[in-house]
Amino acid sequence: MEKFEKVISRAVPLSIEDIDTDQIIPARFLKATTREGFGENLFRDWRFNEDNSVKSGFPLSNQSFSGSILVAGRNFGCGSSREHAAWALADYGFKVVVSSFFADIFKGNALNNGILPVQVTDEFLAQMIAKIEADPLTEIEVDLDNQSISCGEIKTDFEVNSYKKKCLQNGYDDIDYLVSLKDKIEAFELQAITI
């Protein structure tokens, strides 16, 4: 995993709530056996018509919006556990998703792929979306070390699990850590109630 550095970028606003992972990447695109190339089909059915022409009005297709930060409505990433949703966001170029609430599995998948989920209050989210929509050039700064996010003149702190923060800062993933616990795992297997 790549190290997560401070992100200073414009953002794409998506003021829709309960965005499920079927919208982020529809199931028919899950047939690949590698992690690459999912960005092309990110939000496929919201971005494109059936004949592959671009649907107007969707923020990702709106050229005034750009950047590596997605700012989305409450309960982002609900539904299916498909990590392909995180792969698609990363492949498209997003490094941060800001929302006022994240679904559990998506949040874990994002962190495991170097995408930082930043949870802010409903009020802060509404202010951010209003600012970005009013001025798409608004710069957002996401500072993981200090756990703060600023958008123009508004700023707030966010929570991140201390272990996960260290993983992001150093580019570590859980698998390395778990493999290092092999002796403890074997010892557990010997004493555990296993049925």
């Binding site: 899950l30 539904g79 990590e83 859980d174 698998i175 778990l178």
Partner: protein, 464 residues
Amino acid sequence: MGKTLFDKVWDAHIVDQIEGGLDVLYIDRHLIHEVTSPQAFDELTKRNLPLYRKEKMVATPDHNIPTKNQHLPIKEALSRHQVDKLLENCAKHDVELYGLGHPFQGIVHVIGPELGITLPGRTMVCGDSHTSTHGAFGAIAFGIGTSQVAQVMATQCLMQVKPKTMRITVDGELKPGVLAKDVILYIIAELTAAGGTGYFVEYAGSAIRALSMESRMTICNMSIEMGARGGMIAPDDTTYDYVEGREFTPKGEAFEAAKTYWKTLNSDTDAKFDKEYNFAAAAIAPMITYGTNPGMGIKITDNVPVSLGKGAQESFKKSLKYMGFDPGGSLLGKAISHVFIGSCTNSRIEDLRIVADYVKGKQKADNITALIVPGSKQVEKQAISEGIDVILKEAGFEMREPGCSACLAMNDDKIPAGAYCVSTSNRNFEGRQGPGARTLLASPLVAAITAVEGKIVDITKHLN
């Protein structure tokens, strides 16, 4: 203070505790399928790691596979490649695999319980959010992403923040025509699609106790649809009777010893939950969804709401526009073109029997295409032995071979754009059953009656 059922099972699986409040949790059984495992196997290869405990894994293809002519090679190249990749990976790592044609093949959440792989007190994971199904046995079971699939393959462990606990109690007797699917759709409508996020749910109360194992699975299956990582039900005689004698259930003395342990798996009377909800079974009626998330459900005779709570207005409007419904309107009389009975929520023998009982001697309406897909080869075999296949065929239903089918539009079974489908599956998201398809989630009984009537009706007036 007493412990909850969830605490008891969780705490018995903690290998280590690390900074940030993370527990290293031991996983007893790992189920895999073709869609979320190839990149995990690659991860092992890339890191030169062996598969740690192959005997704790079981694989089956289900998402991608056609439900017709399963004896022939899969036509669609990408699907075939993904299923072949599963076969190849399982052969390379010597993982137990129930491929197409195997008598144990089926939807991963149907075969786990029916083979006795799912047992009380176990921790179980799968790269699929409906792994919550297995919680019906008093197991801690939840869906994971592919990076975590690789972690479990490499170490049989996961790093997890312990979720908060929620108890949902449903007391009393369910009314005629109200099934487990209605109970869970009702609960999700009450709590919303995010109401359970951050929690692990225990379902309790006399109405839950009275349910069969298959009905309990339907309830736990949809825990994820309110955002909960999983749901569980304390094991009891219904559970022991179900698991006894199954393929991989311990036998003889080992079974008795297991049962003694299982009997300790319930929430202590003084256990504290982070959140509690209580519902009366009598308040629950046959349900249906009108919108594009499973929290958007109503009693079939109720009107579509005029608005949703603050904030969700945009999504609510977008959702009704997609579905072609009016705020405040009724769904009764709405013509339907497709009925799908299947998925890990409702494809077990009990579900097929409910449909067959209703449609026996009746005909589906002319405007309806009715698809019924058993959850596994074993369910299919049982259905045929009971003559259910003949009853369904005579009623104009098409019974297919086991798989996820039209639940997720990943295989050949799709609902056309704009078409309305009353479906026993678990998700009514935009495009879930095919681009532009409009899904109304309901019980197998509502689905069967809709197929015969050709439109949405008050089913309580049509019970046999």
